[in-house]
Symmetry: C2
DNA sequence: GTGAAAGCGCTAACAC
DNA sequence: GTGTTAGCGCTTTCAC
């Protein structure tokens, strides 16, 4: 409509106006000025839907985050945003709130061509979302391991080695002479939590330290449950010389218990996963899971597919790094 | 194309297929089944661009956030998301990174009809972005005061009273008997910072406590500058019995200094703005700026405009609430 | 150099 | 009940 309108206003043909506005193809200087003036007058803006419909290209990427309020994802989002910037793409951030429902909705949006590709962060890759993803046959990257991936799948994954990560943290504690190491973990049914618990057990066994179930808490990866589980543990009066929290939300819960009860940060050694601002500003040792690099790799993999440079599925593994601080 | 494809596959007319797929209008059970099967077979998904182009409606709202990694915005984003959910809308989150450039890009996206409306959080409402916004003549809500608003403007604003908020915090300190109250503020050129400083001064003057410039630091609303300004202040050895940080990022900076130097949380009274998880989990008194309610009001105002129920500009003022904790 | 027109996929009005 | 078709705004091919 708008080009047509300008065409009618100026008496210049539709095609010439279109050329002038897009900058593709020739249009004389005089006409271009007339057209520019008219465009300004009606506040012309090309309609994105029309353009997308025509080009079948959105120059946008959907980004599904399980919890947009979890600081863990910040550097990932930053990395993704910056990397997309370089190729003139935008991230469309969706908060999936750990709900399969929302993830499916997101995949549906991809099917509807709301974006050219999808980066999906999830801890819950199941038949439901993987199948939906396969059906879209559009480019996607998952930021977690999925066992059943096939070479001809339309998605890749980027993954941090959580087992090795927890081994680093636990080794650090053992080397510092700790024997009674409390692990505040997530739900063992979740793959990422199981992996972290595995890393913890591996190291204890290597050093012939007994693995005691009461030293492995289920904090559900969330602040409140971690707080409550930690409180219950402290009630028992068992010896502790080190606490490891398997993510920073749970570290927050532990921290809240400690401030409530006037327990100092140096009452025992403490280390967390995620390396967000929270641990940094409290000078607490934390495991950096390379979120930034996860994001950047995800974009690179995705763009390879969007630009048709690759069709075979690929997996990228990253190694976490322990950031040692005061604790 | 896709409807056409199904129409050709099944030999059923285009319109009937369209009716079956959309659910609008009649289509016999038998045909519907045939169509459903064909749709399934080709993984039919309606094309969003085509639909948007046709309907001139996206059912999406652009949401511009200055810093998506600042916990202050979490509850605002949540409030907005939930409220939009109720009316079947989605937020499209854009990280403007405090850059005018990005804000203008965002407003441009609105002009291109990438969404039906815009909620813009900014601390920098100037001629540039306000004019651009006016030119779109599309619905928008700003979450800050803008002095030059006109009754026929195409946008509204929602606003927390920062002066009254800081008065609450400062009064709390004064009532607790504090005399040497350090304020870690932002840059006074910024309107929100100036307002907060004003509230602080108001209360001190009411109580005949001298206002001393060296007790008002510029922490630029960011963690590092606040840390450094606080460190410099502490060097001087001036007496302090209370510290107020004008946002939680700056509180983090102060906190980092304290953990670095082994200063306990009860060395002096401390209170912050924002009431995020950081202060909550450290049991620190903080001012709740009603971010949730800001978000919800913003959506309500915006939907009134999107649905054409109102054209005159409106302003909503909210009153902050002090959450008293251990400090 | 400029202009006419097809077509992206969808919706909906209208004709039968 | 079912079918035909115009048109949303843009891009691009092709004809002049």
């Amino acid at each position: 409509m708008s080009i047509k309108l300008i065409s009618e206003m100026t008496g210049i043909s539709y095609a010439t106006v279109a050329r002038a506005l897009s900058g593709n193809g020739y249009c004389s200087k005089e006409k271009r000025d007339i057209i520019a003036k008219a465009a300004e007058e009606i506040h012309y803006h090309p309609n994105l839907s029309a353009r997308t419909l025509r080009n079948n290209r959105t120059e946008k990427v959907l980004l599904g985050i399980p919890d947009i309020c979890n600081a863990f994802y910040f550097r990932m989002i930053e990395g993704i945003t910056e990397e997309l910037d370089k190729v003139g793409y935008y991230p469309i951030i969706f908060n999936t709130r750990h709900l399969l429902d929302k993830e499916l909705k997101l995949i549906d949006l991809l099917s509807q061509r709301y974006a050219d590709g999808l980066i999906l962060v999830s801890f819950n890759f199941t038949e439901a979302n993987i199948d939906a993803l396969r059906r879209t046959n559009l480019p996607a990257v998952l930021t977690n391991r999925y066992e059943g991936i096939r070479e001809d799948d339309n998605f890749d994954f980027v993954y941090s080695d959580h087992v090795a990560g927890m081994e680093q943290v636990t080794s650090f504690m053992v080397e510092k002479g700790c024997k009674n190491i409390l692990l505040v973990a997530g739900n063992e049914n979740e793959q990422t939590s199981a992996e972290r618990v595995q890393g913890y057990k591996n190291v204890l066994q290597q050093h012939n330290i007994p693995v005691r179930d009461e030293y492995i808490l289920n904090g559900e990866f969330r602040t409140e449950p971690a707080h409550d589980a930690f409180a219950a543990f402290m009630q028992k009066g068992l010896p502790v010389d080190a606490v490891i929290t398997a993510n920073e939300l749970m570290f927050m819960g532990v921290m809240r218990y400690m401030t409530e009860h006037g327990i100092d940060l140096d009452a025992f050694r403490i280390a967390s996963f995620d390396n967000t601002d929270f641990s940094r500003n409290l000078n607490v040792t934390s495991l950096d899971l390379k979120q930034d690099e996860i994001g950047r790799s995800a974009v690179r993999l995705l763009m390879e597919r969007i630009e048709g440079r690759r069709v075979k599925s690929e997996q990228v593994y990253l190694m976490p790094e322990l950031i040692v601080r005061k604790t």
